[in-house]
């Protein structure tokens, strides 16, 4: 049996053996080996440290394991081991700088967002260092530990003072000249790299000098990349290529610069060769496995969160892992100037922060969004419902923080402009009004910059469509934006994308600016119908909204209608303007329209299932312009036969359903009744038909294209039924059908169409309430069921349909005539008060907008429960979204 001293010596010897190998592995970047050795040491010591003497031996001998274990973390296991050991050693902040350093490392990794107290922290002193170097043992882990701590403190606040204070204290007190240089180099590197988090690389580098190092050239390259100066970037890449070997440590960093800029550099290597080479070369470096392990840990944590639906109160460990792996990846990347890897880590950090912000501090959402922009962590907001939902959270941040966030976005270099525009588009009318003029100035300077064409886009003005109609100073903004808007208007290709911006400018701008815009668009030559129709559309809308412009707009409208040659445009213009100058545009006689429709039905029935492209019908657009006073059995029969056919393509049926739904209101009531009954049958029993197939023969014959065509058909059916109810046609039949259909089928029905069914039911309730209160009460119950199943996915739409029926002029008039005590009414109105109160806090601005419209009208009309509704309106009048504030002060429901 050996004595206690002997035991301590034995264990010390073993730990020193592991330490030596761990330091060697650390130097070669073999982090997984270090991780393994540190775990072995800490675990073993846990069972050994049972007396005070043993504890002190163990603590001294495993400092390296605690430091290096945290440094090379690839998951949370070692973190818990370190935490366990620190607790067991009962380490609080004390007067030993090494102990304090380890405790601070742990604290910073455990709580990266918290403010850490440095008041009692023991900074290293010269005397302390002397003591450390007194023995012949190396103390490399101390250098590693202090450097890591400085990096972590810097990471939390790159422009703060604390990390500089710590770095200076280490550098000034340390007697080892080599270590002093290391601290000084670290300070220099971190000072330069701080600017990365602001989105720009902070220093101009003279890259022409032969003495410039590869790291400096890399920095220069990234700066040029951000500025979209691809010509100069190509030169720098050429210079770097002469200094970088495929086996050198800096190859990875060089590769990411090349890969990011590949599309912009002429004669760059094909990525199908370059990427596999990179993966192969990287696989020879142990550090690559550490990076891979961290990414895998992060991905696994993300998958667990996603599967669980990102719940609020649980899975904290997974969130912890995500954030920390991102942090460690970024720090790792910055040590070798691997900006590409740093961007990957930044993207993860951004996602993690946005997600954390949902459940904790909302300002994290803004920080996370900024990270995502800088890391180009999302390619298109349109494609990501999740991201859109999260950006909406920014609405609830402090106005000042949001303003600062927008200002920071505007300061980003050219390479980020598209993503800045994406975020501004999502924020839109939540952008604080006090910074809108800055945003306008940014828009103008960006639009006029040639670099915009390098960003694979022709304009970044699109996001103004969500702002100009709602802001209180739209005229001033439009004045500022006019140079950019007028310039964009000269490009017919932008008329569709910027349609609403042009309309808002014409409607709300200074008359001189509006005239200039109108004149510019009118005088732009454009032969393509595809673009002309958008100019037509812009002008016809402006014609409605701005009488002062009509004289300017009309000649162009007439010319475009002629150019388009389609009677739809001519008839629309005639209707809007009341002039008949376009009578000479070829227009069908009614008989010809009928024949053309019948021919279309017949031709398409013959071709069904074999045709591979869609033929657009224009006939459904002009049906409403003709008088259909008599029953047209032949046409209606043909249409009904086509919509009920099993062999006609769904895409063709869309035209027929549209015509039928219009004929309900245009023709005699008997005809309308017949149509309604058949539509009801289709609603109850399903619409038959065929989808496009992949092949006529072969193994894929039974496979079809999927799409939203069927949903559109049901939507048009519902529109037709709505028309019927409004026209007072077959109301009872519709009511009975819905009473049968809703309980059995609505939960299976297309979620996007349920609000439309609810609208139909609301309308029916109001129509029958006077004579059939009981039936109205039953319908009210069914409506509530529909609302409940629709709310989770379509809250804004459900609120809107309620407003459209109950709070429109017609709806209010009816409510005021009907008994306020009727059961159906009490049911509906009471439930909706509570619902509107709740939905006024919904994260979606569209929902809050719909609520604002509803409560404004409700309060103005002094309907029942108005006292409960008014506070909701008051709260919404202070909403972060301009449209919501505006709606809370407007009257009419649109």
């Amino acid at each position: 049996m050996t004595g206690p001293n002997e035991d301590c010596r034995t264990v010390s010897a073993g730990l020193q053996y592991l330490r030596k190998h761990a330091i060697d592995c650390h130097r070669s970047g073999d982090g997984l080996a270090v991780n393994h050795l540190a775990t072995v040491a800490i675990r073993r010591c846990g069972s050994f440290a049972t007396t005070d003497e043993r504890k002190s031996v163990v603590y001294r001998e495993i400092q390296w394991a605690l430091i290096l274990g945290l440094y090379w973390m690839v998951d949370d296991y070692i973190f818990y081991l370190v935490e366990e050991r620190l607790k067991a050693a009962e380490l609080e902040l004390s007067d030993d700088p090494a102990k304090d350093m380890i405790v601070m490392l742990h604290n910073h990794l455990n709580h990266p967002h918290a403010e850490h107290k440095w008041d009692d922290y023991s900074y290293p002193t010269a005397a302390w260092w002397e003591l450390q170097f007194a023995s012949s043992e190396s103390r490399d882990e101390l250098l590693i530990g202090f450097i890591f701590l400085i990096e972590l403190v810097w990471y939390q606040s790159p422009y703060g003072e604390e990390w500089k204070k710590l770095a200076s204290a280490c550098r000034d007190s340390c007697p080892n000249k080599g270590w002093q240089r290391d601290f000084a180099k670290l300070e220099e590197r971190l000072s330069i790299q701080a600017s990365l988090y602001g989105g720009t690389i902070g220093q101009e580098i003279e890259s022409n000098s032969e003495k410039v190092s590869p790291e400096q050239l890399l920095l220069s390259g990234w700066r040029l990349y951000q500025a979209c100066d691809h010509e100069s970037l190509a030169k720098v890449i050429g210079q770097l290529n002469t200094k970088v070997d495929a086996n050198s440590a800096i190859y990875r960093s060089f590769f990411t610069l090349v890969h990011f800029s590949r599309m912009h550099i002429k004669d760059s290597e094909d990525q199908f060769v370059s990427l596999p080479r990179y993966k192969y070369v990287s696989s020879k470096q142990p550090i690559a496995f550490v990076i891979q392990a961290r990414k895998e840990a992060e991905s696994e944590a993300l998958a667990e969160l996603a599967i669980a639906g990102f719940p609020g109160g649980s899975l904290g460990r997974q969130r912890w892992i995500r954030f920390r792996m991102a942090m460690l990846l970024q720090l790792q990347a910055l040590r070798t100037w691997d900006v590409g890897l740093w961007l990957e880590g930044l993207k993860t950090r951004g996602e993690s922060r946005v997600e954390l912000g949902q459940h904790q501090d909302l300002s994290l959402v803004l920080d996370g969004l900024f990270d995502l922009v800088v890391s180009r962590g999302f390619s298109s907001i349109e494609k990501s419902e999740l991201l859109k939902n999260r950006i909406q959270l920014a609405d609830f941040t402090n106005n000042e923080k949001r303003a600062a966030f927008v200002s920071n976005l505007l300061a980003l270099p050219a390479t980020y402009w598209r993503h800045v525009a994406d975020v501004l588009s999502a924020l839109s009318d939540a952008i604080p009004e006090e910074v809108l003029s800055d945003v306008a100035a940014w828009s103008v300077s960006v639009e006029q910059n040639d670099l915009i064409s390098m960003l694979w886009t022709h304009s970044l003005l699109g996001f103004w469509k969500e702002i100009l109609p709602f802001t209180s100073n739209s005229t001033e903004l439009i004045e500022s934006l006019t140079p950019a808007i007028v310039s964009a208007s000269r490009k017919p290709g932008l008329w569709e994308e910027l349609h609403n911006v042009f309309v808002a400018s014409l409607a709300n701008g200074e008359i001189s600016s509006a005239l200039l815009l109108a004149e510019t668009m009118s005088s732009t030559q454009c032969g393509e119908h595809h673009f002309v129709q958008y100019r037509y559309s812009v002008f016809i809308n402006a014609y409605e909204l701005r009488p002062e412009l009509r004289a300017e707009l009309l000649p162009c409208l007439e010319a475009d209608a002629r150019l388009l040659g389609n009677e739809f445009f001519a008839k629309t213009l005639q209707k809007r303007t009341g002039n008949d100058k376009l009578a000479d545009v070829k227009q069908l006689r009614k008989e010809d329209l009928r024949s053309a429709l019948l021919k279309q039905i017949r031709d398409r029935s013959d071709l069904s299932g074999t045709r591979v492209s869609m033929i657009e019908s224009t006939y459904n657009r002009i049906v409403s312009f003709y008088k259909w006073t008599r029953s047209d059995e032949e046409l209606v029969n043909a249409l009904l036969e086509a919509v009920e056919s099993h062999t006609v393509l769904f895409t063709d049926k869309f035209d027929y359903f549209l015509v039928l739904s219009k004929l309900i209101t245009l023709g005699p009531k008997t005809q309308a009744k017949r149509i309604v009954k058949r539509l009801l049958s289709l609603l109850l029993n399903g619409i038959p038909g065929k989808n496009f197939g992949f092949e006529k023969s072969g193994p894929l014959t039974n496979f079809t294209y999927s799409g939203n065509t069927k949903s559109s058909l049901y939507e048009v059916t519902l529109i037709g039924l709505q028309n019927a109810v409004v026209a007072g046609v077959a109301r009872d039949a519709i009511c009975n059908a819905l009473l049968e259909w809703i309980p059995g089928k609505c939960h299976e029905f297309f979620p996007e169409l349920r609000p439309r069914v609810a609208k139909l039911v609301f309308r029916l309730i109001l129509d029958i309430a006077e004579d059939k209160e009981d039936l109205a009460a039953i319908l009210a119950g069914h409506a509530e069921a529909l609302v409940l199943v629709s709310m989770p996915s379509k809250p804004a739409e459900v609120v809107s349909v309620f407003s459209q029926e109950f709070l429109s002029d017609d709806g209010v008039a009816r409510l005021k005539k009907l008994s306020p005590k009727a059961l159906w009414r009490v049911t509906v109105m009471k439930q909706w008060v509570v619902r509107l109160q709740r939905m006024s806090k919904h994260p979606s601005p569209d929902t809050r907008y719909a609520v604002a419209e509803a409560v404004t009208r409700w309060a103005e009309e002094e309907l029942e429960y108005a006292d409960a509704i008014r506070p909701v309106r008051d709260a919404l009048s202070k909403d972060p979204r301009m449209r919501v504030r505006k709606a809370a002060s407007q009257s009419k429901v649109s």
């Binding site: 034995t10 264990v11 010897a13 730990l15 053996y17 080996a33 393994h36 072995v40 073993r44």
Partner: protein, 399 residues
Amino acid sequence: MISNRPLPDPNSTLHEARDFIFASSLTRRAFDSSRKNLANFVGDLLDATHRLSLACHLPEFTDHGLPHLCSLVDRISCWGLPGVGGTYLPESLAPDDAADLLVATLIHDLGMLSQNPCDLPQPYSPDLDPSQWTSRALWVRTTHVVRLPRLLPRLMLDYSKNYEEFFDPACPSNLLRAVEVAMAHQKWPWQWAADGGLDAIGRALAAVVSVADLLDEDAGRCDTTTLLQHRGGDELNRAHWMRHALTADRILITNGSISVDVKKPPGTTHLTKPIYSALRNHFRLISLYEADLRAIDAPITNINLNPSTGIPLTNTDLLKNWNALEGFDNESALTFQLLRTFMGEALKSPTRCSQETLTQLAVASLEDVDLAVLEAAQGSTEPRSPLEQTFEAIVGGVS
């Protein structure tokens, strides 16, 4: 005074070795064989071995070149047969048998000096492909025997087309039996029967090669001091070099007996006993060849081990600073590392030997080896990494 002194002949080792081997009784008996070109063949074979060991020797290995071959040839040449009369083994062999024995001895480790996978038998199992091995040295050691049949003709036909007859199965003077004898040294005698290629004499010759090789364990096998101080390597490499230092003197077979003196590193105690148990067992394994050696009247009936139990009393200065070596901090670590160098049979390890093997080992009267240190370091539920095993060996039984 400036003089044009001739540079030393870089091939002097080859010349000395060739002279030594050619002068041995085994070779002289072999050259009485009727095989034409045998002398040239052996000379060229030694030249090839010399070139290979200069160019291709792996640093992880101890010597498998000319010094080792000289030692084996000498041991065989001096193999004293039991009984009165002082007869030596070569004299009792027919010349053709002596020739086969000589060639087998010279080629048995040729594969250790070559690393080209083209010599693998065709077709070969994917397991043998070098790409499946993380350690080149381990691949070489594991495949050195199976590569011999293709390596040898590839090597020797470069010297002379006259040597084709030695590889022609139809030719009566071929050396294919020598190749089989050489290949047999990687297996135990009871495993030779499964291959079915060797007759009784062939088995006896194989036994001679195996025993001679087994007994080449002494300090002369490698320069332990220089290796420990100057060559890079891991703990297992160092343990191999240190093990040779424990057997101070060359072991020769005299009158059907061997005597082995074992020494210990200074300052070590009974805690290192398992090392010597394993080492004694290593020598006792020659008993497994007794039956086959009897076919040529060359059994080794006495194995004198000093000490026969326990730990040696004498120190070896070659290992005086053993505990300053990384990974050998104490006796527990020393024992662990040295035990790793022994084959499973010497350890009488039930986890590394099949039941059949353990049954066969009974004739060797092996002593039990305390494997507690080895097992504790290797881990009982999951295998540990080499660094981790060394650490556990150092901290030993401290709890």
